[in-house]
């Protein structure tokens, strides 16, 4: 019964109807963005040479990729890295969410925005900051602890699997925190209250009701964290490669960085990673569908019941403070401190004299920095805009148009979620090497890659707000004499604005910090900030890197702030 007037055979207007044109164009764009690169990737992995005159089928690439002596160790490293990070991130995120959402820990509401702050610290900078802190040679924490306790050797070594797990985890915590907070929020407190009324005490209620109800959500959060870690490349690049600890993503990168680049082997590895992550996503969608029967997420926001921790609430408070100071604040502080140093040195009274603005002065005339800055700003704002406009239209078609086959668009828009960043890079290289459209090596190929990868995020934001628009709001416009376009412009789009703004900001942030796709596609002219950081860090210019990092964070905050201001107040009172 929910439909919008779609004048399919309007006698009055013989012009081409936008309501029919839009879905076809949308499907075309999505196929071009999501399906074509994957097709080229699979083709390329079975090809004897890159961009051949004729297709020669071979399994040699798979043999090279999977029958080598380190196949096994790569596989094991990947599993430990992803599994360990998922568990650690989940534990941190859940504890934070539980303490802030469901207990009477002092000042807990203050920690809600604080827990999300690491989101603005790009993964590359997160890794660099923790190298500054935990490097066995010069890491501040190690130096202090050795000094304090008179230790002979460094207590921590970031260049190890546990180190990688730690660094990656603390960067991912905001994600787990947000997902678990949502789960806690949407839990009907009467389910717990009725357990209490049945005679269960606090602990029994927590164990037998709260935990059981959360189990499906917890399972899917763990799964998504596992897949995301498997796909990530920041920590494996900056910490794993120097430590000679290789995972899937670094193997793909190394195959590409050989001379000459082994696209075939890289492609074969990428196909493997793609299958793994697709399997994970498939499990995830299945798990969340299963989870529906538990009805913990009803879409309704409840006023959750608070557990009284008694004197233990001070332990909770201590945990939050320690987390805030050592996990959230310290990486920012160390970057900020290092950016004023001529060379890396521990904070001390003597080091204070060496502080200067030299690094910033140097950057002000350093052309590659300004180019990368320009590219990053253009790319993140353009990606966010293109992705949100595209997904708003697609979401409208999928949920409102009632056209036959609209679900196909939904599926197409979901595909990119299975594509790891580095696999997307690999696929696009194979695509544009085969079809020499002159965009390879420009920022436009990056734009295509970013938009494709972040379409699923845009879809989530857009479809969420589309579904909230009661179809009678659009029908009322039609009944008031507004055509399809007038209705979309004057009613649908304005009502979409909150979702649009939220989605835009999120995509802008993730594009700005994007690394794993850019590392294969951004070269020379098209270099972005995250890649500039990576190369300069490899060259050892660590304090200039810190200065770039500081400017990067400031820029990101400014861009988001300006957009937020421009779009006015986000909330619409309903």
């Amino acid at each position: 019964m929910s439909t919008v007037a779609i004048p399919t055979t309007a006698k009055q207007s013989s012009t081409l109807d936008p309501a029919l044109l839009v879905p076809v164009v949308g499907a075309g764009i999505l196929i071009y963005l999501a399906v074509l690169p994957l097709f080229m990737l699979v083709m390329g992995s079975f090809q004897a040479e890159v961009a051949p005159r004729e297709f020669v089928y071979t399994l040699k690439n798979y043999q090279n990729a999977y029958a080598s002596p380190h196949t096994y160790s790569t596989f094991v490293n990947s599993l430990i890295f992803a599994g360990g990070s998922a568990v650690m991130t989940f534990l941190f995120g859940t504890t934070l969410a539980w303490l802030t959402e469901r207990t009477n820990t002092p000042l807990r509401s203050l920690f809600v925005p604080i827990a999300v702050i690491p989101l603005i610290l790009p993964g590359v900078l997160e890794s660099i900051a923790w190298i500054f802190l935990l490097s066995p040679k010069f890491g501040y924490v190690n130096v202090w602890l050795m000094h304090l306790f008179g230790l002979q050797s460094a207590p921590f070594n970031v260049f190890s699997l546990p180190g990688m797990i730690w660094v990656h985890s603390v960067g991912q915590v905001p994600l787990a925190f947000l997902m678990m907070t949502a789960a806690f929020k949407s839990m009907d407190p009467s389910l717990e209250e009725s357990a209490m009324m049945s005679g269960a005490n606090t602990w029994q209620t927590f164990k037998r009701i709260t935990l059981r109800l959360l189990a499906p959500t917890a399972g899917s959060v763990l799964l998504i964290l596992f897949v995301r870690t498997l796909e990530s490349f920041e920590t494996p690049a900056l910490i794993g490669i120097p430590a000679r600890i290789y995972v899937y993503t670094s193997e793909i990168f190394l195959a590409f960085n050989e001379y000459p680049p082994d696209y075939g082997r890289g492609g074969a590895l990428a196909v493997g990673l793609l299958l793994l992550s697709s399997f994970g996503v498939w499990l995830y969608t299945r798990a969340t569908k299963e989870g529906k029967k538990f009805q913990t997420v009803t879409g309704k926001a409840f006023r959750p019941r608070q557990f009284d921790l008694g004197p233990w609430r001070w332990a909770g408070f201590a945990f939050l403070m320690v987390y805030f100071i050592f996990v959230v604040l310290l990486p920012f502080l160390v970057l900020f401190w290092a950016s004023f140093l001529p060379f890396f040195a521990a904070p001390s009274w003597s080091a204070l004299d060496k502080l200067s603005l030299d690094n910033y002065r140097y950057l002000s005339t350093f052309r590659p920095f300004w180019e990368a800055m320009k590219n990053s700003i253009i790319l993140s704002t353009l990606t966010a805009t293109v992705a949100m406009v595209l997904t708003s239209l697609v979401a409208w078609i999928v949920y409102k148009s009632k056209l036959r086959g609209a679900w196909i668009l939904d599926v197409l828009a979901f595909i990119p979620i299975t594509i790891p960043g580095i696999v997307m890079g690999m696929a696009l290289i194979l695509l544009y090497v085969a079809f020499p459209i002159p965009i390879y090596g420009t920022i436009w190929v990056l734009l295509i890659a970013y938009v494709t990868r972040f379409i699923p995020y845009g879809m989530r934001a857009s479809s969420g707000s589309i579904l909230q628009i009661h179809s009678e709001l659009e029908e009322a416009a039609a009944a008031s004499g507004a055509s399809w376009w007038e209705t979309f412009k004057r009613v649908t789009l304005p009502l979409l604005r909150p979702g649009f703004v939220a989605g835009w900001i999120y995509i802008c942030i993730v594009s700005f910090r994007e690394f794993s796709t850019s590392v294969l596609l951004a070269t020379g002219e098209s270099r972005v900030l995250s890649i500039l950081l990576f190369t300069m860090f490899e060259q050892g210019q660590v304090t200039i890197v810190a200065a770039i990092g500081v400017l990067m964070i400031v820029t990101l905050l400014t861009v988001v702030g300006i957009f937020y201001k421009l779009t006015g107040k986000v909330g619409i009172q309903t």
């Binding site: 055979t9 009678e472 029908e475 009322a476 416009a477 039609a478 004499g481 055509s483 619409i572």
Partner: protein, 365 residues
């Protein structure tokens, strides 16, 4: 004026034939009248309204609104909703939350085919808002209005471009009981004053009876009976209509005789009843005799010289303030009746029930 001829609407349910939501219905709403489609949910009344609005494309038949053929299956005519001369009020009111009260009402003027000057817009919006007693609320956000005010805002928006036809889709169902009663009255007064042709959809018999000039009772995609409020209430032509409008007692039986004045006699398990016989029924036909609860008279002494008096016993009796709601048990049937609260009775009291013949009606079983 609205003319609907042989309208068919089929919903795709995966099967080949689909589901016929509206099955070849025809009716005419005369100029300036208040016409109501009344029926249970799923009877096709809202679908019919949406086909007339153009929000739904029919699969057969013809729709003429104010002399303009807006839909015709044979001529392949389909005028989109936004080109039809209609104003519509939705069940959810569909007030746009991002616009002010003024802008909500001004919307139809701003998007219309012909340009309306700003001063003209202001004049028309003000008039429309005053019509529904919302003058002075222009600058409020629409969402700051109460339910009843939103309802009137929706009405002002539907009326502002002076449509030929007003369509109302269960507009009162989201209001609380008291407010619904008042809005029923206001809506009726407004319609009578503007003399605008109105098509109203509801499942609420009170709304239908109190506001309409003509009611069409719908059931599974067809019109079961069309007529004035008195006709459909007092002279239902089928068991469905009798049951759906108001509460009804039913006594199954068989026609014994039919007189020339459409009165006759029916044999029931609890005795013979004199009653009106629906045209076409013959002696021997299986029927139900329907009689309204308020038509029955309960006597503590056996009345003399009255027809259709049956022996009975009081079942349950509930005091509802305005009246006494009680059940009386005949030998085989139980009747529900409304009596004055001055009647003093208890469960089990022997009584006599009188069924006035003119208010009893035999309908096909």
């Amino acid at each position: 004026m609205i003319e609907v001829k042989g309208l068919v609407k089929i919903y795709d349910d995966g099967s080949n034939a689909g589901v016929k939501a509206v099955d070849e219905i025809s009716f005419t709403v005369e100029e300036g009248r208040f016409y109501t489609l009344l029926g249970p949910s799923g009877c096709g009344k809202t679908t019919t309204l949406r086909c007339i609005a153009g929000l739904e494309k029919a699969n057969g038949g013809e729709i003429i609104v104010a002399g303009q053929k807006v839909y015709s299956a044979n001529e392949n005519t389909y005028v989109p909703a936004y080109r039809r001369p209609i104003g519509m009020v939705f069940q959810s009111y569909a007030i746009w939350p991002h616009l002010t009260v003024f802008e909500n009402v001004a919307f139809p003027l701003r998007v219309g085919k012909e340009k309306v000057s700003n001063t003209e817009v202001k004049k028309k919006v003000t008039t429309a808002l005053e019509q529904v007693e919302l003058g002075g609320y222009e600058d409020r956000m629409a969402t700051q209005l109460s339910g009843g005010q939103q309802q009137r805002l929706a009405l002002a928006r539907a009326l502002v471009r002076e449509p030929k036809v007003l369509l109302l889709d269960e507009p009162l169902s989201n209001l609380d009981a008291k407010l619904r009663e008042r809005m029923r009255f206001e809506l009726r007064e407004l319609q009578r004053r503007l003399r605008i042709t109105t098509l109203y959809v509801t499942h609420d018999q009170i709304e239908a009876l109190s506001m309409s000039n003509v009611i069409a009772v719908m059931n599974s995609g067809v019109i079961a009976q069309e007529g004035g409020p008195r006709d459909v209430y007092l002279a239902p032509k089928s068991k469905f209509v009798a049951n759906f409008i108001g509460s009804t007692n039913q006594l199954p039986g068989q026609v014994i005789s039919v007189g020339s004045d459409a009165m006759g006699r029916v044999r029931t398990e609890d005795g013979e009843i004199a009653c009106a016989i629906l045209e076409g029924l013959k002696p021997g036909s299986n029927v139900v005799v329907v009689v309204r609860p308020e038509s029955l008279n309960v006597h503590l002494q056996k009345p003399a010289n009255s027809a259709n008096v049956l022996d009975a016993k009081i079942g349950a009796a509930m005091f509802l303030g305005e009246y006494l709601d009680c059940t009386v048990e005949l030998g085989h049937n139980v009747l529900q009746t409304h009596q004055r609260h001055t009647l003093e009775i208890r469960r089990g009291d022997p009584v006599w029930v009188e069924l006035p013949p003119a208010e009893c009606m035999a309908l096909p079983a």
